[in-house]
C-alpha cells in the first residue's frame, strides 16, 4: 500500500496514479473465497459434528457421540448417523440411540434468515442400548443460587426435603429397639410455643396498659354525682303554669344530653373490653395448635414419623412423583423459552434479560416463516419381526401464533429388546395464545423392573427384586396451573428386604406377605406455588397394618413423652398467663360494671323525672283548657240572651 490517491510525497519517485478500485485484490479475494469453499468441503462437517457433540454432551450430562454428519450446501440438507447418548447413571449404556436423522431445509427460508424443515426423518430409535465403551459422565453442576427460587422453586425444594426423609427406615429403627424420645432434651428457645406465650404476655401487657389508660379517660363517679345534683334542683312538682313546666323540661333535656355524652363511652368500653378479652382468650385456645406443631417438629427431629398410610406413601413414592413433576416442569420451561406464547415476546421488550444481546422483534405475517419451523418429523424404528416404534412430530415452531398450529408429537410401539411394550405417548404444546398450555399423556403397557429400591436405610432396605410394571401418566399444564396424574401397577412383585434386626425382618416379611401386586396412584394439582399432593399405594396400607402391630405401643409411648416434655416446659408460663388473664378480666370488668350501675341508676331517675314533668305538663294544659272552655260558655250565654 505504498501508492496513494493523494498527492505524491515530495522527493519520492513518481508513482503511477491508481484508481479507487483495488483490481490487484481480485486474485487474493478469489483465493480467500476458494479457501472458504475448501473449508466447507473438507472440515465444516467435522467441526459441526464436534460442536453438536459438545452442546449435546452439556445438555445430556454425559458423552454424546455422532458417528457421521454430512451436510450439503446445494440442497441445504443434513444427515446425522449413529447418535449415541450415554446414560449418566449407567455410563456403559446409552439412554438413547438413533440410527439416522436426516432433514432438508428450504433455501427460500434460509435466505430470509429462517430455518424451515418440511420433513425430517428420525430412523431406528432405540433406548437403553449397550455401548462399546463407557461414556464420559460430566461432573454434577455446582448447586446454583436459584435467584428465581421463586415461590415454585421453594415449594418444590420443600417437597423434596419432606419426601427425602426415610420414614420406613425410621420406623424400622424404632421396631429394632431404638427409643428416639428417650434422650430428648427440650429447651425453651427451640419451641414455637414458648415464643407464642411470650407474644401472649406482650399482648396482655399492652392490653393492661391500654385499658388502664382507657379507664382513666372514662367519666368518673363525680361526673354522675354532679348530674344528679343538677337533677335534684329541677322543679318537678311545684310548677304553676306551662312556662315553668317548659323551663323544667328544658333543664331536664340539658341534663339528659350531658348524661348521654358521659354514659356512651362507658357502654362502648364495655363492648370493647368483652371483645379484647375474648381475643386474648382465643389466643390461648390457639396455643394448643402451636404445641401440636412443636410436638410434630420434635417428632421429626427424633425421626419419629407418624404411622399412617399417607405418610408412608409419600415416603415410598414421593420422590418418584416429585421427580416426574420436576421433569415435566423442566420440559415446560424449555418449551416456553423456545416456543414463546403469543404476547410473551412483547413482555420481553420491556426489560431484555441481556442488554448486549438486545431484543429480537418479529414482523411475521400470515404464511411467513417463523425463525424455526419443523413441519413434520417421522420417527421410526422397525425390527425384523415387524415390531418397533413409530410416531410423528408436527409443527415445532418458534412462533405458533404465526404458524397457527400447536406442536403435536405422537409415538407408539414397543422396545421388545428392552422388555417394554405398549408405549403410547402424545404431547401437545399449544402456545398460540397468551395462555400457554402443555399436555402429555404417556402409557406404557408393560415394562420389567429389577432391583428397584424403595427404602434404603441402615435399619432396613426394601425394594422390588423384580416386577412387571404398567404406567399411565398424564400432565396438563396451563399457565401456572398443574394437573398431573400417575397410576402405576407393579405386578408379579418379588420383594427384597434386609435388616440387621430379626424383629424388623419379621415385621417387613409379615407386612408384605401375600402382596403380589402394588398399586401407586398419585395426583398433583393446583398452582405451581401451592400444590396439592395426593399419593396413595397399597404397599403403604400393608406396611401400616403390619408395622402397627409391632410399633403402635412404642410410638404412643414416645409421642406421649414428647408431649409431656413440651407441656412441662411451657406449663408454668401458661398457668401464670392464664391466671393473669383472669385477673385482668375481673379487674376491668368490675370497674366498668360499677360505673355502668351508676349510669343505669341515673338513667332511671332521669326517665322518672321526665315522666313526672310530662304528667305535670298535661295537668296544667288540661286546667288551662278547662278555664278557657268555661270562659267561652259564659260568653255564648251572654250572646244568646
Amino acid at each position: 500500500m505504498k501508492s496513494s490517491t493523494d498527492k505524491p510525497a515530495a522527493g519520492s519517485p513518481p508513482v503511477k496514479k491508481q484508481g479507487p478500485i483495488r483490481f490487484e485484490a481480485i486474485i487474493p479475494l478469489l483465493i480467500v473465497t476458494g479457501l472458504i469453499v475448501l473449508y466447507f468441503l473438507l472440515f465444516f462437517d467435522m467441526h459441526l459434528r464436534r460442536g453438536i457433540e459438545y452442546s449435546a454432551e452439556l445438555a445430556n450430562g454425559a458423552e454424546v457421540n455422532i458417528g457421521q454428519l454430512k451436510t450439503s450446501l446445494l440442497d441445504a440438507s443434513v444427515k446425522i448417523s449413529d447418535v449415541q447418548m450415554t446414560n449418566p447413571d449407567q455410563p456403559q449404556r446409552n439412554r438413547l440411540q438413533i440410527g439416522e436423522i436426516r432433514f432438508r431445509m428450504l433455501w427460500d427460508a434460509l435466505l430470509r434468515g429462517k430455518v424451515m424443515i418440511d420433513e425430517a426423518a428420525v430412523v431406528d430409535v432405540q433406548i437403553d442400548t449397550p455401548r462399546k465403551r463407557a461414556g464420559r459422565v460430566l461432573p454434577p453442576e455446582p448447586a446454583k443460587e436459584d435467584d428465581g427460587l421463586s415461590t415454585t422453586g421453594k415449594t418444590l425444594a420443600q417437597m423434596k426435603e419432606a419426601f427425602s426423609g426415610n420414614v420406613v427406615g425410621d420406623l424400622a429403627a424404632i421396631a429394632a429397639g431404638a427409643n428416639p424420645a428417650e434422650q430428648l432434651q427440650v429447651t425453651g428457645e427451640e419451641l414455637k410455643s414458648t415464643a407464642y406465650l411470650d407474644g401472649l404476655k406482650k399482648s396482655q401487657d399492652e392490653a393492661e396498659q391500654q385499658w388502664r389508660a382507657q379507664m382513666e379517660a372514662l367519666p368518673k363517679g363525680e361526673d354522675f354525682t354532679a348530674l344528679r345534683t343538677r337533677l335534684s334542683k329541677v322543679n318537678l312538682k311545684d310548677t304553676k303554669d306551662i312556662a315553668q313546666v317548659q323551663a323544667s323540661l328544658k333543664e331536664l333535656e340539658s341534663i339528659r344530653t350531658d348524661f348521654d355524652a358521659k354514659s356512651k363511652p362507658i357502654g362502648e368500653a364495655g363492648k370493647k373490653l368483652t371483645g379484647n378479652m375474648g381475643e386474648l382468650r382465643s389466643s390461648f385456645s390457639r396455643l394448643d395448635k402451636v404445641v401440636h406443631e412443636d410436638v410434630l417438629a420434635l417428632q421429626a427431629r427424633m425421626h419419629l414419623p407418624s404411622l399412617d398410610a399417607g405418610n408412608l406413601s409419600r415416603g415410598l413414592f414421593g420422590m418418584d412423583v416429585l421427580g416426574q413433576l420436576q421433569q415435566a416442569r423442566g420440559y415446560m420451561n424449555l418449551a416456553r423459552q423456545y416456543m414463546p406464547a403469543k404476547g410473551a415476546q412483547n413482555k420481553a421488550t420491556a426489560k431484555p434479560v441481556k442488554i448486549h444481546k438486545g431484543h429480537d422483534y418479529a414482523f411475521g405475517r400470515p404464511k411467513g416463516y417463523p425463525a424455526f419451523w419443523l413441519r413434520k418429523a417421522l420417527v421410526t424404528s422397525r425390527l425384523p419381526d415387524g415390531s418397533g416404534l413409530s410416531g410423528e412430530i408436527l409443527d415445532v415452531a418458534t412462533d405458533q401464533a404465526l404458524v397457527g398450529r400447536p406442536m403435536l408429537a405422537t409415538i407408539k410401539g414397543d422396545f421388545p429388546q428392552q422388555g417394554i411394550s405398549g408405549i403410547k405417548a402424545e404431547l401437545v404444546v399449544d402456545h398460540r395464545t397468551s395462555d400457554p398450555a402443555e399436555r402429555l399423556m404417556l402409557e406404557v403397557g408393560r415394562y420389567a423392573l429389577a432391583g428397584r429400591q424403595l427404602v434404603n436405610s441402615p435399619s432396613v432396605t426394601l425394594g422390588f427384586a423384580k416386577a412387571a410394571a404398567a404406567t399411565n401418566f398424564s400432565a396438563e399444564l396451563r399457565g401456572e396451573q398443574v394437573d398431573m396424574r400417575l397410576a402405576s401397577r407393579f405386578s408379579e412383585v418379588d420383594f427384597e428386604s434386609a435388616a440387621p434386626s430379626t424383629v424388623v425382618r419379621e415385621m417387613m416379611a409379615a407386612s408384605t406377605a401375600g402382596l403380589d401386586a402394588v398399586t401407586l396412584d398419585a395426583r398433583v394439582s393446583g398452582s405451581w406455588s401451592d400444590l396439592d399432593w395426593r399419593i396413595s399405594t397399597n404397599l403403604a396400607d400393608a406396611l401400616t397394618r403390619g408395622m402397627s402391630r409391632y410399633l403402635q405401643g412404642k410410638m404412643d409411648e414416645a409421642r406421649k413423652r414428647i408431649e409431656g416434655l413440651v407441656n412441662q416446659r411451657i406449663g408454668d408460663q401458661k398457668n401464670r398467663l392464664l391466671a393473669r388473664q383472669g385477673e385482668l378480666e375481673s379487674r376491668f370488668k368490675s370497674a366498668l360494671a360499677e360505673r355502668q350501675a351508676q349510669v343505669d341508676n341515673l338513667r332511671a331517675d332521669l326517665d322518672k323525672a321526665r315522666s313526672q314533668l310530662e304528667q305535670r305538663k298535661n295537668a296544667v294544659v288540661d286546667t288551662q283548657k278547662q278555664k278557657l272552655r268555661q270562659g267561652s260558655d259564659k260568653l255564648l250565654d251572654k250572646f244568646r240572651r
Partner: protein
Amino acid sequence: MTLVLKQLFALLRLLNSDTGTNQIASGVACGLILGFAPMLSLQALLVFVCMFLFRIQIGAALTSAFFFALVAWVFDPVSHAVGSAILEAEALQPLFTTLYNMPLVPLTGFYNSVTMGAGIVSILLAPLVFVGSRRLIVTYRVTVVAQFKNSAWWKAWSGTTLFKWYSTYEKLHG
C-alpha cells in the same frame, strides 16, 4: 495473518508519510461500521467486500473496528434504546414487515434492537468520523511527525548506515 500484519505496517507507514489520507480516513469510517455491526452479518460481509474491492486502508479499518467494537459494547444500552424506538415506530411497521419477509435482508439482523440502534448510529457517524479522522491525520503529521523528524535522535538515526541500507531496500522492494 500476513495480510493483516502487512496492512498494519502499511498503516504506520502511511500515517507517517504525506500520502493516503483519504484511504486511512475511509478505513477508519469502515472500521466504525464494522465495529458497530455484528461480526456474522450481511452488512459486515458487505463492508469487508468493499474494503477488498476499493482502495480503503484495511489496517486502519481493522484497528479502528477493534476499537469501535469496544465503544459499541459500552454503548449497547443506548443502541438498544435507539433500536427499540425505531423498531417500534408504528409508521415503519409495514416497511419492517416487508424487509423481514424479504430474502437476504433479515440476514442483516435489522430486527434486533441493538443491531438496529448501533447500525443507525454508525451510519450517521460514518461521514463525521471520515472528516474528523482526515483532520486528525493532517494535524498528527504536522505536529507529531514533523517534530519527530526534526529531533536530534531521528537525525542521528537517519544518518546511520543501517537506516540508509533499509531505505534503499524499501525503495527497491516496497
